[in-house]
């Protein structure tokens, strides 16, 4: 990629075209070597370590880690959390991006800042926010136990509904930390695409919903998909915020990342790394999906640039 501008700037070096740079061979080898070493040391080695530790006692022990009841429940909870958090943020993200990219209104930059907030705040704080709101000593917590409010507390108790240290709290914390992914992905894309096509559709008599479904959505399809993948990866992998609101009840409020920590602390290293490898596999699948989407997405972007 960088070869193109340098060629146009220095036409006199056309005779030396096969050589990309003028640097001596040792410098090129050294730089490449350092970069490769860095990649191996910080990316490949940890990944290999996870799998070797997980398989240390053979495939049987590896598989046994997943069939254990607490592991299955952690997996179920992680999937459930992602299943709620991702669609919620999908709907919100599209709505927010649509509003921000296609319209002008008062407080737009404030909304943009708010969307970025979960990126800026440490996940631990994100978890503590919910403890402060829904905790027994928090703002709303005291009203959530029976007797404090005419019906709310008793209704919640009668149905055994608990917010923090239970599934709702875990979902809330996950929604909070994964909040920006879809919106952040779509806003620049939608801003770049502008509003011309929508205007054209409306001029031709399309309704608002038709315009969105047949013009806007196809345009943002790949960007949206990309955002959802990232959102999902974070939702399944989130540790800090979930750790604060989970209460660490095994078999009940443990997600996969928390389960890894518990297993590790119980000297059950094979199982810990086995579950960790499941998360690593998930990450790899996400990366492969992401690359596929990126590849499609860049072609869409290029064609839209050519069109413009």
């Amino acid at each position: 990629m960088s070869a193109a501008p340098s060629r146009s700037l220095t036409p006199r070096s056309a005779s030396a075209a096969p050589r990309a740079t003028q640097d001596p061979a040792w410098a090129r080898w050294l730089l490449t070597g350092v970069a490769l070493l860095f990649v191996v040391l910080f990316l490949v080695l940890p990944l290999v370590a996870v799998f070797t530790e997980a398989l240390r006692r053979g495939v049987g022990a590896y598989l046994a880690a997943f069939t254990e009841a607490d592991a299955l429940s952690a997996l179920r909870l992680t999937l459930l959390t992602a299943l709620i958090a991702v669609p919620a943020n999908l709907v919100f993200g599209v709505a927010a991006a649509w509003a921000i990219a296609k319209f002008n209104f008062f407080g737009k930059s404030l909304l943009l800042t708010l969307i970025d907030l979960p990126f800026a705040v440490s996940p631990v704080i994100s978890g503590l926010i919910y403890v402060l709101i829904f905790g027994l000593q928090g703002w709303c917590g005291p009203y959530l136990v029976s007797g404090a409010h005419p019906w709310l507390g008793s209704w919640l108790n009668a149905h055994d509904i608990q917010i923090i240290f239970a599934v709702p709290g875990i979902v809330l914390a996950t929604v909070f930390v994964t909040f920006p992914f879809v919106a952040r992905e779509l806003i620049p894309l939608m801003q770049a695409q502008g509003t011309d096509e929508e205007y054209a559709a409306i001029t031709l008599g399309a309704s608002g919903w038709q315009t969105f479904r047949r013009v806007t959505l196809p345009n943002i399809k790949w960007g949206l998909f990309y955002g959802v993948i990232l959102c999902n990866a974070r939702a399944m992998g989130e540790f800090g915020a979930v750790s604060v609101v989970s209460g660490h009840i095994r078999g009940e409020t443990n997600t996969l990342p928390l389960h890894v920590e518990i297993l590790y602390n119980e000297y059950n290293f094979v199982a810990a790394f086995a579950v960790a490898s499941l998360l690593a596999l998930l990450a790899l699948a996400t990366l492969i999906l992401k690359s596929l989407v990126e590849w499609r997405y860049s072609r869409v972007l290029e064609s839209s640039k050519v069109g413009a």
């Binding site: 027994l136 928090g138 923090i164 209460g247 602390n265 000297y267």
Partner: protein, 331 residues
């Protein structure tokens, strides 16, 4: 099938589920090193309860640093019973959150402590740094692993044991404070719970000596073999009483008082005490003491009541915000 018949079917299913044998769930919120103990104890209790009442009981466990766990219960973690590292962590659940009466510790035998323990040193095989007593921990260059006294119950016992030793041997509280300050200068990492510290020492290989619960040290020996580590018993240590308590507000709300009470009482039963002894906690009932007493080292133990005047005083002087520990650690 019309709507009415679907509704009828749903009601039928609900009724059928309700009519089956009672299925109770308890939540035991505990401190860090009791994981293995309660896994076995819960199974034994479930069998006992099924035989006695015909009901199935599932006990869910939650573990972490004792202070952190207490904070969770105060913030609404619905614990039917708490089994924490020290009385000072259950007190605020009573005084601050008012989830149980403040005289909770008098409700069960032996200060509500079905098992006790103490603090010992775990060192690497052959004791290469020649660590034999508390004095050796303040030598320069010795790296000591202990969790954070702010969040971990075990760490508070560590701290107080060191304090008691220095007070006896160097005369007075001022000297003790200097001694403990010197000790914490030698601590490279403060984990939030006892298990985190054990992992730091055993698995990550950091530090020359781990200040550990006796049971945690024995467990580490059992898990990793006596050829890797050895236990050093100091000349003086502290009698650690990890108490248990029923959380009244939670059991009354959930209707689990009877089974939760039986769960705690089962800790004092022959079966319960046996499991306690096998997991290297010091049993509290005479029969089990006779059976398991020999596996524990003989060491002079001071108590929190006689040496420090109880947890309320200790908490205020040493571990409250701006207390002695904060002054020591800020330096």
């Amino acid at each position: 099938m019309n709507v009415k018949s679907i509704l009828f079917l749903l009601f039928g299913i609900t009724a059928a589920l309700g009519a089956s044998a009672k299925d109770v769930q308890l939540l035991n919120v505990s401190y860090d090193p009791t994981r293995e103990l309660y896994v076995e104890f819960n199974k034994a209790f479930a069998a006992h309860w099924l035989a006695q009442t015909g009901d199935t009981v599932t006990v869910k466990q939650s573990h972490g640093g004792s202070g952190k766990q207490a904070r969770g219960v105060i913030d609404g973690l619905p614990a039917d019973v708490v089994t924490l590292a020290l009385g000072g962590d259950i007190d605020p659940i009573a005084s601050l959150a008012k989830l149980l009466p403040t005289d909770w510790q008098t409700r069960l035998p032996h200060n509500s402590s079905p098992y006790t323990s103490t603090i010992v040193f775990l060192v690497r095989k052959g004791n290469p740094r020649h660590i034999n007593d508390w004095d050796d921990l303040v030598r320069s260059g010795v790296s000591v692993i202990t969790p954070n006294p702010k969040t971990s119950g075990g760490a508070r016992w560590n701290y107080l044991a060191a304090w008691a030793y220095a007070k006896r041997h160097q005369g007075g509280d001022e000297a003790a404070q200097r001694f403990v300050a010197a000790l914490f200068k030698n601590v490279p990492v403060l984990d939030s719970g006892a298990r985190g510290s054990t992992t730091t020492f055993v698995q990550r290989g950091i530090g020359d000596v781990l200040l550990a619960w006796e049971n945690e040290a024995f467990l580490a020996l059992k898990e990793f073999g006596a050829d890797a580590f050895e236990i050093v018993v100091p000349s003086l240590s502290i009698l650690a009483e990890p108490p248990v308590a029923l959380v009244d507000r939670v059991v009354d709300r959930r209707g689990t008082r009877t089974v939760a009470q039986a769960y705690l009482e089962f800790l004092y039963s022959e079966k319960g005490q046996d499991i306690i002894g096998r997991h290297f906690y010091r049993p509290s009932e005479p029969a089990a003491i006779a059976k398991y007493g020999r596996q524990f080292p003989q060491v002079e133990l001071v108590t929190i009541a006689s040496e420090f005047g109880g947890w309320a005083a200790v908490q205020q002087i040493h571990f409250a915000d701006g207390g002695v520990f904060d002054q020591i650690y800020a330096k």
